[in-house]
Structures are given as C-alpha cells and as structure tokens.
Amino acid sequence: MARYAMLIDLAACVGCAACAAACVLENEAPPGHNRLWIRQRELGSFPNVIVEYRPEQCLHCENPPCVPVCPTGASHKTTDGLVMVEVERCIACAACIAACPYDARFMNPAGYVDKCTFCEHRVKEGQDPACVETCPTGCRVFGDLDDPNSSLHEWLAKAERVDVLRPEMGTGPKLMYLNTPSKLGLRNPGSEVES
C-alpha cells in the first residue's frame, strides 16, 4: 500500500530529454511512440521572454478517466496508486486513449495500449524510475505520498508553487510540477482552460 507520486521542478529542468531517451531503452517503447516527451513553451516577447521545458508522461491520476472506460479491466489502478495496463486483458479498443486528457497513452503495434508505468518493475525493486535516476539536473523526485519521511514532502514544502496539468479535469494527477516559470502556471495565455 502506497501512493506513489512524482514531482518535476521546472525551475531546474532544461529539457535535455535524458529522461525520454532512458525511457525508450528501459521500456523498449516502439519507434514512433514515446511514453515520455518534452514540451517547450515560449511566452512573452523580446527581451522579456519566459521559456518553460516541461516533461510530460502518464500522471497516474487519483481518479483516472482511463480506468472506468476500459471494458475488460485491463486498464486498472493498483493498490499502490499506479495506473497500469494488464496486457493479457487488453483488447486494444483505444477507449482509454480517447479518455486520457493528457495523450499519455498510445497503441503499441504489438496489440495493446502502452504508457508510462512509473517503471513499476524498478519501483518494486526499490529503485527510482529510469527517468528520475538519469536526470542530470535532478529536477525529478519520486516517492510515496503516504510516507511522511519521503523527500516528496520536503520538495512540496520548499516549492513556491505546485501545479498539475488541466486541474479542471478533476483527475487528481500524482505527477506534479513545481515552480513553473510562468505566472500562468502550466497554461498558455488565452488557452481554453483559463476560463
């Protein structure tokens, strides 16, 4: 029983994509699909520019929209709060892909839906996920929200602000972003989610 979560400090992230490359090799993601990618946003105007590098992947939501829509129970939430796909049960109907507000899922050509698992196989061994382990800037931290001594809480306490992607979706993401460089947080100016 745990509530695994990941924090990404955008004040530190330089978007070098080491996490993305590590993920491809660790999880053998097929060419043409990524479980993890980097979004670069440019805001403001010369010379007052804000640039945000934002790694994105499955957020392992508290109430994941991708789980109830699954007709076979392949897409499920583990007791540790990880949102997983049980390959043997998946019929590749893509209902969960449609349901995900974050485009975190894709159809693996091998015939099942694939996505970030927070490297569950590593976490079981007590290791960090591959993306956390390799990040040169150390902008990622992974841990158990229920564990009071987890460094998560320390980071959350220190952070100037904590944002989640598309809060209006009510998904309760367990991947949170710290210290977004923009005052708008993770949103684009004039993007529909502002209202």
Partner: protein
C-alpha cells in the same frame, strides 16, 4: 510557441475501419430494434428481418475483430468475464451478443417470439445507445459533447431505416424514416449550439468545428433531403439518409479524436 522533443500519443487512435464499425453497429442495432418492434406487434413475419439484422451484427463483429491489433490474442473473452458497467464498450459487447442470441431464437422460431422480441428491444436499444456513450464519456475530447448521447441513437435508427425502406414495404418504414430523419436533423442543428455552450472547452470545440465544417454542413443538407423526400420517394430518401447519417457520425468520430492538449492547450 510550443515545440516538442519526442511525440505525445497524439496521433489519431481510430481509423476508417472504426468509422465503418460505427456504421455497421448502427445498422445492426437499428434493424434489430425494428425487428423487435415488429415482433412485439405481429410476431408472424419476422424471419427475414431477424436474419438481416443478424447479418449486420456478424458483419460488425467481424469488422471489429479484423481491425483489432489484438486480433489473435483472444483477450476479447475478458469482455464477458469482467463487470465494467461504466464502460460503453462492455455494454456494447453484451448488447450485441444478446441481440444476436435473441435474433437466432426469433429466426429459428424457438420459444415465445413476443418475449424474445421484448428482450431484443432492450438489447438492441443498448446497441443503438452505446456508441454515443462511448464518445460522450470522454470529457477530454471537446467535440464529443453530451449531445451525441441523443444524436447517435437517432442517426443509428435512421441509418437502419434507410436500409429498410428498400427492403420493406415503403408504407411500413417510410413514416418512421421521416421521423428519424427529422430527429437527427434537429439534433445535428443543435450540435454546434451545444458546443458553443460547452463550458470550459467551448473555444477549442468551436475552433475544431470551424476547422472543417463543410462535411458537417453536407451531412445536414442530406438529412434535410431525407426528411423532405421520405414520403415522396422513400428509396431516394433512404439513400440521402444513409449518406447523411454516415457523414455526420463519421465527421464527429474522426474529427473529435484530435488532441487539443497538443495543438491547442
């Protein structure tokens, strides 16, 4: 300005095969429902109808199987071994299989036809309803407004009737066709308004709708023609209804997949 290292899972996840499925499932559900109604009234002359709708169901199931990347993994068995009442597709699986069973019983004249027809009415309603639910359930896709909950059953029935006006005595199906056409037309007309009142996602939804509304308009016109011609020349009306219904449904399914998270957000 937004750029990416790597690719979000943003590419379309449903393809033309899925559009065909949305057509076939409508024909299957619609004809089955029609069969049920007829069966409840005069259970005599059902055979033809029963077999016809069974054929549509089989075609649809084959389509689904053939297009599934999981084709040979036999995981589909879990549809029936698991209980997922929140999943449209789970309902769809049961709806289709039960309808198929009822139709076989009706077709082979086993047991009480009225009772089977009653059951069939229920199961085929599920088949008509679940595609709309499968779309509307996705809060993340602005084009899949709750209105499709009504639009898809209506247009589904319409599509089935469009086929039936050719096969059945016109005076029997035509009036129904007109009603279904009018209903679909009304809902189609409401659709953009529904998007406009879509709350948070309004801007994105309308943006996506305006990206290419030509097809949508064409569908609307065809539906209007169908309603207009239904009594004058049912056959022609059927053709219009078939085309119109297919265009509207396909447009919503195909276009609605586009991720605003990548492009808009």
């Amino acid at each position: 300005m937004t750029a990416f290292y790597g690719i979000p899972g943003a590419e379309a996840f449903w393809h033309w095969t899925t559009l065909v499925h949305f057509l076939l499932v409508a024909l299957a559900g619609g004809t089955a429902f029609y069969t049920a109604i007829v069966g409840l009234r005069e259970p005599g002359n059902l055979r033809g109808l029963a077999w016809l709708s069974l054929v549509f169901i089989i075609l649809d199931l084959f389509m689904l199987w053939a297009e599934s990347p999981a084709r040979l993994r036999f995981s589909h068995i879990w549809l029936f071994l698991s209980f997922a009442p929140l999943s449209a597709i789970w309902w769809g699986a049961w709806g289709l299989s039960l309808s198929a069973l009822m139709l076989i019983l009706l077709g082979t004249k086993l047991g009480p036809p009225r009772f089977w027809s009653g059951m069939l009415a229920l199961s085929s309603t599920i088949v008509l309803a679940y595609p709309g639910y499968a779309l509307a359930a996705n809060a993340a896709r602005p084009l899949w407004d709750h209105l499709v909950l009504a639009l898809f059953p209506a247009s589904g029935l319409l599509l089935a009737l469009a086929v039936l006006v050719w096969l059945r005595p016109a005076n029997e199906a035509a009036p129904w066709l007109q009603i279904a056409a009018l209903a679909s037309l009304a809902l189609t007309a409401l659709y953009p308004l529904a998007l406009a009142s879509g709350g948070a996602d309004t801007r994105a939804a309308l943006a996506l709708w305006f990206q290419d509304w030509g097809w949508f308009l064409l569908g609307g016109v065809l539906l209007f023609l169908a309603a207009f011609l239904a009594r004058r020349s049912p056959a022609l009306a059927g053709a219009c209804a078939l085309a119109g219904g297919f265009v509207i449904r396909s447009w919503i399914v195909e276009h609605g997949q586009h991720s605003l998270f990548v492009h808009g957000f």
